[in-house]
């Protein structure tokens, strides 16, 4: 039985972006997992990506992200206390990037957007 190529591609796309898939490295909003909040950021050309935010005093060194093999997806899992946390990504130590996907966005007061991740008490 031959399966149309469009169906295969669609299934692959769904599998790659499904938040329910624990091993996905597709772009998603930050997702709560038992180990902490999982951040995924896709940047194929980056040599390094760091997660920065209100939870680490905007440190560009404390939360380096790991690159998934053979893909441009960078991931980090961070244990965060319940509440609202602001975040951005820093590429190659210098390029600050507003999250392409986030639960919400707020102005940072300087003209850029911080991503917002909300950790609810029952999600820890």
């Amino acid at each position: 039985m031959r399966v149309p190529l469009s169906i295969v591609l669609m299934a692959a796309a769904v599998a790659a972006t499904s938040p329910s898939c624990a091993t996905t490295t597709g772009p998603t909003t930050p997702v709560a997992t038992p180990a902490g909040v999982r951040f995924v950021f896709v940047h194929a050309e980056a040599r390094s990506v760091t997660l920065v935010g209100s939870f680490n005093q905007w440190s560009t060194s404390s939360h380096p992200m790991s690159r998934a093999q053979s893909s441009g997806a960078w991931t980090a899992v961070v244990a965060l206390p319940p509440g609202e946390h602001l975040f951005m990504y820093v590429v190659d130590g210098a390029q600050w990037i507003s999250p392409p996907l986030a639960e919400d966005y707020v102005d940072d007061g300087f003209g850029a957007k911080n991503g917002v991740v909300v950790v609810r008490p029952n999600e820890r």
């Binding site: 772009p27 905007w58 507003s98 996907l101 966005y105 707020v106 007061g109 300087f110």
Partner: protein, 291 residues
């Protein structure tokens, strides 16, 4: 009156005076202690970390001191300093120049002062430590575009007869929830009524924040008539609890359409494009959600 009797009266008088003086001292120290306890300054280690951050990016220590002065002034007034030092750190880390950071800090300090005044009006006896969380959250709401008049309206509506007294945390949560409604550019009067009803019904602070966030998440439903804020207020008035308000339950915010996402920025974050949306007539000018 004999000498012994005179001595007795004299001693009695002296004791009364000393009692009065002692009582006055106790009252004075009681009045002064919240301010004294709350008055603080940026710790030396925090200052050093900020200076290091600035110097690493080509700045000078005295520039950082100019920023820290604003935080110290806030601390001297018993206002929370952490939001200010966090914002200084964020600005320095992102590479913004000091005057720009200073302007943001001044604005935040103004919001903190206004929020502190509102909380004191609501609960004059609240202590410095107990005031910090609601003041910070309320200041955040003010930074998000909620006005003092709207906060006063939440307070007035929520304290209608028969409803429990509004706490500082409740007021701050309702105001923060309203900031989401305003951010979604939904009718402010209706949003205020929703938040006041929730506050009056004893919703907890974080429940009202979540309520506002959920309304914002469903902004298209409200704008396009599939949901209505007055109906939401009525449901709350009928006794619905936060987990009963949205029949399909709270789900993760769907990914934003590409047009609404911030553009990738180079080196330093730059303003992100925001899609044009119709403005309701009752949205006040000159307010912007800033965190």
């Amino acid at each position: 009156m004999g000498l012994g009797r005179k001595m007795e009266w004299w001693l009695y008088g002296r004791m009364n005076v000393s009692r009065v003086v002692t009582a006055l001292l106790v009252i004075a120290s009681g009045l002064a202690s919240p301010a004294l306890c709350a008055a603080q300054s940026v710790p030396a280690a925090e200052r050093e970390a900020l200076v290091r951050l600035s110097v690493d990016r080509g700045g000078r220590p005295e520039e950082v001191d100019a920023l820290i002065r604003h935080a110290n002034e806030a601390g001297a007034k018993g206002l929370p300093m952490t939001p200010l030092t966090n914002k200084i750190r964020e600005g320095l880390a992102k590479g913004y120049d000091v005057p720009r950071i200073e302007s943001v800090i001044k604005q935040m300090a103004g919001h903190l002062e206004s929020a502190d005044r509102m909380v004191r009006e609501l609960q004059p006896a609240s202590s410095g430590a107990g005031r910090e969380a609601p003041v910070t959250l309320l200041a955040d709401a003010l930074g998000g575009g909620v006005t003092a008049d709207e906060v006063a309206e939440i307070r007035r509506l929520s304290q209608a007869s028969g409803k429990p007294a509004l706490s500082p945390d409740g007021l701050a949560g309702a105001a923060k929830g309203l900031s989401f409604v305003k951010d979604a550019r939904l009718p402010v009067t209706e949003g205020t009524a929703v938040m006041a009803e929730a506050a009056g019904r004893g919703f907890r602070s974080h429940e009202m924040v979540d309520l506002g966030r959920e309304i914002k998440r469903r902004e298209r439903d409200y704008r396009e008539g599939r949901a209505s804020l007055p109906a939401l207020r009525e449901a709350i008035a009928r006794g619905a609890r936060p987990d009963q308000l949205f029949r399909d339950g709270r789900t993760r915010t769907p990914d934003r359409p590409a047009a609404a996402r911030p553009e990738p920025t180079a080196t330093r974050p730059e303003p992100a494009a925001r899609p044009e949306r119709p403005r309701p007539p009752d949205r006040p000018e000159g307010t912007e959600r800033t965190r």
